[in-house]
């Protein structure tokens, strides 16, 4: 089942582009990564889906419901974690959580208590007195406490220490296994590669690649790192060559036989050949107008 589906979704802020003819589909149960640098249109997409801004043209549905006509029904089942969401500073953590639950007309006390314990958040503290990371935790509990079917996370880990990040992703995986769909926007690629099953890359307001993370990472090219001395001048298909003392690393998409032949003529102490990581693919998409590696 399609959880999110946008059709030629376009948003202009006056004359400046937010997103343009964006087609995006996220299916039920996916852990979906939404990758792009600042200003590519990630937040615009999310804000449109949540009804904070109205699309200029095109349409979008969440849970099969139109985001403008049935906004409240859609939002009832979404948990949203804003990248820099702020709260009413004078409130106590538990009051803010209660306010959020009340606005959903749900009693989330038990779930909130459990989440606060796992994230080590004190419900009796005033929000103004919390550190940035702890305020993030309040936002996380708000997004999770009503057990939504869809979680929309905008750069979720900023401000969280590594232990908390791990705990956070553990919770997300549990939710995902229990059936929730997760839509994670960000630019920390290792995070997306580690956690997401599917991903889309957005550039200049358009989706330029969308597939399973596995398929996105799988390309003809290999990252080859060689320790020792070898003459690579006659080898074709080398890109992104990085030299270090005693070592050379490059992306290779040429003939394997000639690679082995060239390497065998050199003095080699160690060699690794591996799939390029998402980071390299991502950079490639951004440098080369979207051709595959």
């Amino acid at each position: 089942m399609e959880i999110i589906k946008t059709t030629r979704l376009t948003k202009y802020y006056g004359k400046s582009r937010g997103i343009e003819d964006l087609d995006l589909t996220v299916n039920s149960g996916e852990f979906f990564g939404f990758i792009g640098p600042n200003g590519a249109g990630k937040s615009t997409t999310i804000r449109t889906l949540l009804g904070l801004i109205a699309p200029t043209s095109g349409s979008a549905t969440v849970f099969g419901k139109d985001i403008t006509k049935e906004k409240e029904a859609v939002l009832q089942n979404i948990g949203y974690l804003p990248s820099e969401g702020l709260f009413y500073g004078e409130m106590k953590v538990k009051d803010a959580l209660k306010l959020s639950a009340d606005l959903r007309k749900k009693d989330c006390t038990a779930e909130a208590k459990m989440l606060c314990e796992r994230l080590q958040l004190e419900p009796s503290r005033k929000i103004d007195d919390l550190s940035f990371g702890n305020r993030k935790k309040v936002a996380i509990v708000c997004a999770l406490q009503h057990n939504p079917d869809l979680l929309v996370l905008d750069e979720p880990t900023g401000g969280l220490d590594p232990l908390m990040q791990k705990e956070f992703f553990d919770i997300l995986r549990e939710r995902n296994h229990a059936g929730a769909t997760i839509f994670l926007s960000g630019h920390i690629l290792s995070e997306i590669q580690r956690n997401c099953t599917h991903a889309a890359i957005i550039r200049d307001g358009k989706i330029i690649a969308c597939d399973s993370v596995e398929a996105l990472s799988k390309t003809n090219a290999k990252r080859v790192t060689v320790h020792g001395t070898v003459d690579l001048t006659h080898l074709n298909g080398i890109r992104d060559r990085k030299e270090a003392k005693d070592a050379v690393s490059f992306l290779y998409s040429g003939d394997m036989g000639s690679l082995l032949h060239t390497l065998s003529s050199g003095q080699i102490n160690d060699i690794t050949v591996k799939e390029p990581d998402l980071e390299e693919i991502f950079l490639h998409y951004y440098e080369k107008d979207g051709e595959t590696v």
Partner: protein
């Protein structure tokens, strides 16, 4: 009514400070009256012969030596300005503060329609203005009783009612403006209240500017007219009500479609 409660809790401190300040000033002025009454024979003449200044505050038509006259002028300035500031600030900030304080992303991503948010915020403003007016009215009547004067019920009630309507009108205007704002609302709120106040002073001084009375809500709050006529000017009140309701309608039209940043 979750949001109404939330708004009232948020603005509790500012509400209490404003109500206490206006109530205190008003009571202090009333308590000054017995002392001034004895010296008033001379003072009234002085106040009545200060030219434009006299006209501006309606002192040519009110007798400063009677409690009603004294209260109408003093009330017009303390309660008129104080109440106008509070109503304007309260309404101008109530929608815009969500974007200014970056809490809009939290509030507006809950399953609550924009209409409901506007309505509940409007109710919160209405409750605050009404509560403040009632408390101040009680304080005013109480302090007049405390100095042993007979309470001029009709005049005092009409004056307070007119200022209540003024606050509602200003709140309506500022509520409409609030829907457009993303940043500070304080300056605009205060600016509108002060401008309206001065428009009335100008109307009082210059005959050619008399029409200004029909624009500013201070027109139908003019103590001299209310005391002399025993009622408010119906046309001015009707114009004021239309402007106030207009502001609220604009808020609905704008905020239901607004892109939230």
């Amino acid at each position: 009514m979750t949001l109404v409660k939330h708004e009232l809790r948020q603005s509790k401190v500012s509400f209490l400070i404003w109500t206490a300040s206006i109530g205190f000033l008003l009571a202090v002025c009333v308590f000054l009256f017995p002392e001034m009454k004895g010296q008033m024979d001379g003072v009234s003449d002085v106040f009545a012969s200060m030219g434009s200044f006299t006209e501006a505050f309606g002192m040519d038509r009110l007798n400063f030596g009677t409690l009603t006259g004294f209260y109408a002028i003093e009330c017009g300035n303390v309660l008129g300005l104080g109440g106008a500031f509070f109503a304007a600030l309260c309404a101008a900030g109530i929608l815009s503060k969500e974007e200014k304080d970056k809490t809009a992303e939290f509030l507006l991503t809950h399953p609550v329609s924009r209409q409901r948010i506007i309505t509940e915020k409007l109710i919160a403003v209405f409750i605050q203005i009404t509560a403040m007016s009632m408390i101040i009215y009680a304080l005013a009547v109480g302090s007049i009783a405390a100095i042993g004067e007979e309470i001029p019920w009709k005049e005092v009630s009409l004056l307070h009612l007119s200022f209540y309507l003024l606050q509602l009108e200003l709140a309506g205007i500022c509520f409409g403006i609030s829907a457009f704002l993303r940043k500070g609302s304080t300056g605009i709120g205060l600016g509108i209240a002060v401008t309206m106040y001065f428009l009335n002073l100008i109307a009082n001084i210059a005959d050619v500017a008399d029409f200004l009375k029909y624009i500013t809500p201070f027109g139908y709050c003019e103590g001299a007219d209310i005391v002399a006529n025993g009622k408010m000017d119906g046309i001015m009140v009707a114009i004021g009500a239309t402007i106030g309701i207009g502001g609220i309608l604009i808020a609905y039209l704008k905020y239901t479609k607004k892109d939230i940043h």
